[in-house]
């Protein structure tokens, strides 16, 4: 095709320019800012080298707590959200009456914003009028009631339950799609060979779902590293910073305390942690697609 060399760039230009302005250049500038002390207003930025990073890792207790919370959150998501999603997919992977309705009920919360979920669930956890405490009291478990979101011990698990409610539909739908790509023949052959149902599950279903597991694993990991809305909306990182995660602590450091350098270092920390997950994932998927 005869075509002038600049023409493709004309078509690319709008996307490329916006992408450079909004994502690419800012993220590089953030990296640069993470080596400075700056309050965001003063014309003076002081170069401090790696000291923002060192400070975070050695002195900032909240950062360390946030990091720990992020890790706990990620592990809990992989075990409970992925596991529960898989279980629901297996339950629904049949011809069932009401299958579409069940699927809709489990999936729908995923389409809501974290803020709406956070607001609704804050009401569920309300210490005096909320559903959870009212239910406990009405079945005689008054001693079990808590100010769920206001006690450091219960706050993070309570927020996680809300996140589980919201998030389980995503892996469920992905697993269902994966299950539906498995043909019937291997199962029929296995039945003829006398394989028990748990054996069919172990030796047919699981191996054939490997790719779906990789996708769900990667998206769940990345999602848990970035978790923000639901935590901000339910506890704002409190009580006593006990539910801070990297994203929320970055927000406070940058936009509330005006420690731009520290905030930038946290967000770059987030970039690095995310890369650790994404790079192997990208390698895995591109390798797959070339086979």
């Amino acid at each position: 095709m005869a075509q002038r060399a600049w023409k493709p760039w004309l078509f690319l230009a709008p996307a490329l320019i916006i992408y450079l302005i909004v994502i690419f250049v800012p993220s590089i500038y953030t990296f640069y800012l993470s080596f400075f002390n700056w309050n965001g207003v003063s014309p003076q930025k002081t170069f401090v080298g790696l000291s923002n990073y060192i400070q975070l890792l050695t002195k900032d207790n909240v950062f360390q707590l946030a990091l720990k919370n992020n890790l706990l959150w990620t592990i809990a998501s992989l075990v409970f959200i992925m596991g529960f999603g898989f279980a629901l997919a297996l339950l629904l992977n049949r011809k069932l009456k009401g299958r579409v309705a069940f699927r809709g009920i489990f999936y729908f919360p995923f389409l809501l914003s974290g803020i709406v979920v956070a607001t609704g669930w804050s009401w569920m956890y309300n210490p005096t009028n909320g559903f959870v405490n009212k239910l406990l009291a009405s079945i005689g478990l008054e001693s079990w009631t808590h100010a769920w979101l206001a006690e450091p011990k219960t706050a993070l698990p309570a927020v996680f339950i809300a996140a589980l409610w919201q998030g389980v539909g995503q892996p469920m739908v992905l697993f269902l799609a994966g299950l539906q790509t498995i043909p019937a023949d291997p199962y029929e052959a296995a039945i003829i060979d006398g394989a028990k149902s748990h054996q069919r599950f172990r030796y047919i279903t699981l191996p054939l779902l490997r790719e779906t597991f990789v996708i769900v694993f990667a998206t769940t990991m990345i999602g848990s590293m970035k978790v923000y809305d639901i935590i901000y909306g339910m506890t704002g990182g409190g009580p006593a910073e006990s539910t801070q995660v990297l994203s929320s602590w970055m927000y406070y450091q940058t936009f509330k305390f005006a420690n731009i350098g520290t905030g930038s270092a946290i967000s770059f920390f987030l970039v690095m942690v995310t890369m650790v997950v994404i790079i192997p994932y990208v390698f895995y998927t591109t390798k797959k697609s070339h086979v």
Partner: protein, 278 residues
């Protein structure tokens, strides 16, 4: 699907499980709805699981007007209606260049756009804030569209490029012979053929824009421009103890999502899986 037919008893157990879990999933929504429909005195005296006796539709009106949820809904809808089509045009142009036009670095360019999916939004906020402040675009619609469109670009290009690649090249050649230029091919052939992918993208982009919180929180500082998510947060601040009103607000913000889901269900359950596989 596992080949063996299920024993009726096993099937019953399966149903029992599903019904119990589904009921548990519905509890928060029902509890929010019951609260939203009660009057404040009734909320204080009635049982927590009791159906509202005297349904207070007025709560919705109050939340809509006094709580400004109407304004927030309109603002968000406006952003969606401009951002989604504009963003998709920008992404489609780029995807067109990446798939239909021969140039050396097209794969490298695609990879460059994909890098954007790996960068957490947080890592861009400070420089973006400086930029928008310097250009006086903070809390203006052009600034909002710029930022919102920017973050949609990597995913949009991923989806559209994936779909454009499936359209045979012969079609372009035929169009060229018939005297279609690149723009003609783009508008008259590629876009109409890509409607399934574009429809999926519209729905996902709409939901993502509707639910966006972090960008709105930082770049929309004027109350009159707040979106439904940031608006709901300030609504909570103002009516912290008026639970009936607050839950009416939650219900109002759930409804559009429910509507979109019910109308476009098939895109959510099939389109999503396809798009993740890219």
């Amino acid at each position: 699907m596992d080949g063996q037919r299920l024993h009726p008893a096993a099937n019953a157990v399966r149903y029992l499980f599903l019904i119990v879990i589904a009921a548990a999933f519905l509890i928060p929504v029902v509890f929010v709805a019951f609260t939203a429909l009660k009057s404040r005195p009734e909320l204080a005296t009635s049982r927590f699981y009791a159906f509202p006796k005297d349904i207070q539709w007025g709560n919705f009106q109050k939340a809509w007007e006094l709580g400004h949820l109407g304004m927030y809904t309109q603002n968000t809808l406006f952003i969606c209606l401009v951002k989604v089509p504009l963003g998709i045009f920008v992404e489609a142009f780029a995807a067109f260049a990446l798939t239909r036009m021969v140039f050396k670095r097209s794969n490298a360019m695609f990879a460059f756009f994909l890098v954007g999916m790996m960068i957490p939004m947080q890592a861009t906020l400070v420089p973006l804030n400086i930029f928008l402040n310097k250009t006086h675009l903070v809390s203006t619609y052009p600034g909002i569209f710029l930022v919102y469109i920017g973050f949609g670009i990597p995913f949009g290009i991923l989806i559209l490029r994936g779909f454009f690649r499936t359209i045979p090249k012969e079609i372009d050649e035929a169009a060229l012979i018939d005297g279609c230029g690149e723009l003609g091919t783009f508008f008259r052939i590629i876009l109409p053929l890509s409607m399934p992918a574009i429809a999926t993208l519209v729905i996902f982009d709409f939901m993502a824009t509707w639910n966006e919180f972090l960008l709105a929180q930082i770049f929309i500082t004027k109350d009159a421009m707040k979106t439904i998510t940031t608006g709901l947060m300030s609504f909570r601040g103002e009516h912290a103890t008026d639970y009936t009103l607050m839950n009416a607000g939650v219900l109002i913000s759930i409804l559009p999502s429910l509507l979109v889901y019910l109308l476009f269900q098939k895109y959510f359950v099939s389109g999503l899986a396809g798009s993740v596989k890219g």
